[in-house]
């Protein structure tokens, strides 16, 4: 083989970075990479501004109620994020939250605070186990995740009704106050709890090699397998982590509502998907961070309030959520098609 002079070496490589990419394509590339995530804080601030503008009495109370509404949804979104990053989807998020919610509310009623804490840990363990079960069924059966989690969702839903057939139960006041209270005016406990969960539970987990394996499996299963990632363990772990956050969401529901409700959590499944799509998590897996979905949950929780301010039927909220999912997924798809022409 003839030696190749150095000056030709650069020309041989088909490096994308070597060639200057036109500006609009560079923007497109950024959008493709990070999707909606950079926009979300601005959207949230704009929503606050809008609320304050049309509703002059908008204040600490409204922030508090927003935080209360957003807390369980944010947890559902975080749960969904773990699963979707791993390349799956969990349609049992709402029902699993309901199970944890009624389990907690029924067992904690009349318990002491220390017992309550132990029970809370037990509920988290149960939720994690249910999530892991989802993952194991998917792997062992080879049945698509949508089908499996839709089915287990029905099962969890039935179990929730068996535990508590109507809204009821309760928890010690101190425990409820942990979530429903307000440490300082304008700073709701619900927000602090959420931040605590994100920083002290999600972030440490997401920096483990196990979670890196989840990202890898979601991005390219074959490459991950060949790189030595244990695919079975990663998929099971992604659903187990999802179950963990569902359980936390169910516990927080006890705090924010004071009771357990077997049917009150079903909508969290669709909303969690809306929140992660809004939060820039790729539904095809492998991409996404936690802050986007959390902000997405806040934005989605804001929509009914804004609708009420405008004196529009808040039931349009569901319509808007569904529309957002379809719209964003479609936009992402068409951007991807455009992006292909860059490459």
């Amino acid at each position: 083989m003839s030696p190749i002079p150095n000056k030709h070496r650069d020309m041989l490589s088909t490096d994308r970075q070597v060639v200057a990419v036109p500006r609009n394509q560079a923007i497109l590339a950024v959008v493709l990479r990070y999707r909606t995530a950079p926009l979300l804080p601005a959207v949230l601030v704009a929503l606050f501004g809008l609320a304050a503008l049309i509703h002059p009495s908008f204040g600490a109370f409204d922030v508090q109620s927003l935080a209360l509404v957003a807390l369980p949804l944010a947890l559902a979104a975080v749960a969904q994020t773990a699963v979707v990053i791993g390349g799956g989807i969990d349609l049992s998020v709402g029902s699993l939250m309901a199970v944890s919610n009624v389990l907690a509310a029924r067992s904690m009623q009349g318990a002491s605070l220390s017992e309550t804490c132990l029970l809370a840990v037990a509920v988290v363990v149960v939720g994690t186990a249910c999530g892991a079960l989802n993952g194991l069924i998917i792997i062992a059966s080879g049945v698509p995740d949508v089908v499996v989690t839709l089915t287990t969702g029905f099962i969890w839903g039935g179990v929730a009704l068996l535990i508590l057939n109507q809204p009821g139960g309760g928890a010690p006041e101190e425990f409820v106050a942990l979530g429903a209270g307000q440490l300082w005016p304008w700073i709701p406990n619900a927000l602090l709890l959420l931040l605590a969960v994100v920083f002290f539970i999600w972030l440490p987990i997401s920096r483990t090699r196990l979670f890196l394996g989840i990202y890898a499996v979601g991005s390219d299963r074959t490459a991950a397998f060949r790189s030595g990632v244990d695919v079975v363990r990663s998929v099971a772990a992604s659903y187990a982590i999802g179950g963990l956050f569902c359980a936390l969401g169910g516990l927080f529901l006890v705090m924010t509502t004071g009771i357990g409700s077997p049917l009150g959590s079903a909508h969290y499944t669709l909303s969690s998907i809306a929140a992660i799509v809004l939060g820039g998590v790729s539904l095809t897996g492998g991409r996404g961070q936690v802050f986007g979905p959390v902000l997405g949950a806040y934005i989605l929780s804001f929509i009914p309030a804004i609708l009420i301010f405008f004196e529009i039927d808040p039931n349009y909220g569901e319509v808007i959520q569904g529309g957002l999912i379809v719209g964003i997924v479609m936009a992402a798809g068409s951007l991807k098609l455009k992006g292909r022409s860059i490459q």
Partner: protein
């Protein structure tokens, strides 16, 4: 080789249902050697590799690694046991950074740095997303990662496929250095020249058995091919058909291309494709050939320039337009053209469903007849005809060609059609291309193996940097000459394109 082998495989068997992939494969690799694993497609090579790397479990036989009997249940276990592989398609996760790709495999990134330097990748930002890098770089990174994990056995599976010559040379240097450090490498390639230049010994598989261990030094090519095919063949280098050299120059043009451009990738390319010729395109990786074929097959609209069929300009908005104009594509990646879960018949007659009304009845009998005729003509091994994905790569490629033979065409675009295909099938495909040209069709053939231009083509265009830099008749298209031109070095013999 008096040293105890580091890897000793004996009596390995593996069957899939009724299909026996391996019956009694053996392989013995000594410390400090580069050992080639050879065999035609379907010989059981890839099954052996999968069993060695833990992707599949063998049904019988033993694997002794360092004297210990081992059996791996996953690539992870194989990695931990000391067998690390690099494949044709790199095992890097697109959404992870380079550094995280090391971390996810449990390899220390700093150990990869010296290899990065040797591969000219030292200026690469380890925070870059793997999916943003070109294939060639990914493969070098994958190789660096494998070396950094310090394996007992490094398994390289077709790593030079579509790697540019200079990168391939860097990879070879790394392999030799690794060998000189007393390490062992299993090397799999379809390019005999590579094997004879780099490998110390070769194990040849046929029909799931090890049929010989030989010295693959240059000059033994015919023996190797005979051993692989189990029958005597003539040398590889002569043309499969009669070398009735030059086609009459006044033959009609089947297709003409004028000033075709796509961004900076393809710049002002013009040429004519005559009736009855096989026109080669010789180029290193990424010199615009991909974009050229995409434009011609209707997969992409050019930014400027025209395509003429029978002197009339045509514009394709969809591959169907190109097919209607008689221009059909055989892509390198069979899965781009085939429906993997459908039968051979359905895959062959797929283009014809457009000729039938949406609610009209398909004539399965007629379909069947045509499919059988086309597959028989191409000698497709149809033992697994109910699902195309079960065929070997070479047979899949033949199904793609059979499809176009069955539905008719005038211009056949072949984009590296023999990538990853064994020598025997390669020969059959080239014979077929010549036969079609002799029947009046035109073939535009891009192949990443320059040596094949002379075997299959009448003349060749050489592309470099998105442009056609030269045209050579097949008689003068020897590898060295083409390689020089493909590197953009002006040749003293070749006629520059006007």
């Amino acid at each position: 080789m008096t040293k105890a082998p580091i890897l000793n495989v004996s009596g390995l068997a593996k069957r899939f249902g009724k299909v026996v992939a391996l019956q009694s494969a053996s392989l013995s690799v000594a410390p400090g050697e580069v050992h080639a694993l050879m065999g035609a497609n379907g010989a059981g090579k890839s099954t052996l590799v999968k069993v060695l790397t833990g992707a599949l479990r063998g049904d019988g036989g033993t694997i002794l690694l360092n004297g210990e009997e081992r059996s791996f249940r996953s690539p992870r276990e194989a990695r931990e046991g000391g067998i690390v592989s690099v494949y044709q398609d790199p095992a890097l996760v697109p959404d992870l950074s380079i550094r995280d790709n090391f971390r996810v495999a449990g390899v220390d990134f700093d150990k990869g740095r010296p290899w990065f330097a040797k591969f000219g990748l030292d200026r690469l930002d380890p925070g870059m997303r793997a999916g943003d890098l070109p294939l060639a770089k990914l493969r070098m990174i994958d190789l660096a990662r494998a070396l950094a994990s310090d394996p007992l056995i490094l398994l390289l599976d077709e790593i030079t496929a579509s790697l540019s010559a200079d990168l391939a040379e860097l990879a070879f240097r790394a392999v030799r250095r690794w060998r000189d450090m007393g390490r062992s490498i299993i090397f799999i390639s379809h390019r005999l020249a590579e094997i004879s230049s780099i490998c110390d010994r070769a194990t040849v598989l046929r029909d799931g058995r090890t049929v010989g261990v030989i010295d693959p030094a240059a000059g033994h090519e015919t023996d190797i091919v005979n051993l692989m095919l189990g029958r005597a063949t003539d040398g590889l280098d002569d043309r499969p058909s009669d070398p009735s050299e030059m086609k009459p120059l006044n033959a009609t043009n089947h297709m003409e291309v004028r000033g075709l451009s796509v961004g900076y990738r393809l710049r002002d390319v013009s040429f004519a494709l005559r009736a009855g010729e096989v026109l080669g395109v010789a180029a290193l990786e990424g010199q615009g050939q991909h974009e050229l074929f995409e434009c011609l097959s209707g997969l992409r609209a050019p930014d400027s320039g025209r395509i003429l069929r029978q002197s009339r300009p045509v514009a394709f908005r969809h591959p169907a337009d190109a097919i209607d104009a008689g221009i059909v594509l055989v892509p390198a990646d069979r899965t781009e053209a085939l429906l993997p879960h459908r039968s051979v018949r359905e895959n062959v007659t797929l283009p014809d469903i457009r000729k039938v009304g949406s609610w009209a009845k398909l004539s399965l009998v007629a379909d069947r007849t045509r499919a059988v005729r086309a597959t028989a003509e191409l000698e497709v091994d149809t033992r697994a005809e109910s699902e195309v994905r079960q065929l070997s790569g070479g047979n899949q490629q033949k199904v793609v060609i059979a499809r176009w033979i069955a539905s008719g065409f005038e211009v056949l675009l072949c984009y590296d059609p023999t990538r990853g295909i064994d020598v025997g099938t390669k020969r059959q495909i080239y014979t077929l291309l010549r036969k079609m040209a002799a029947g009046g069709a035109s073939v535009l053939l891009y192949t990443s193996e320059l040596a094949e231009i002379r075997i299959a083509c009448d003349r060749a265009l050489v592309m470099f940097g998105g442009q056609i830099v030269g045209e050579v008749p097949a008689s003068r298209a020897d590898e060295a000459e083409l390689l020089q031109m493909a590197h953009g070095i002006v040749s003293t013999h070749g006629t520059p394109a006007s």
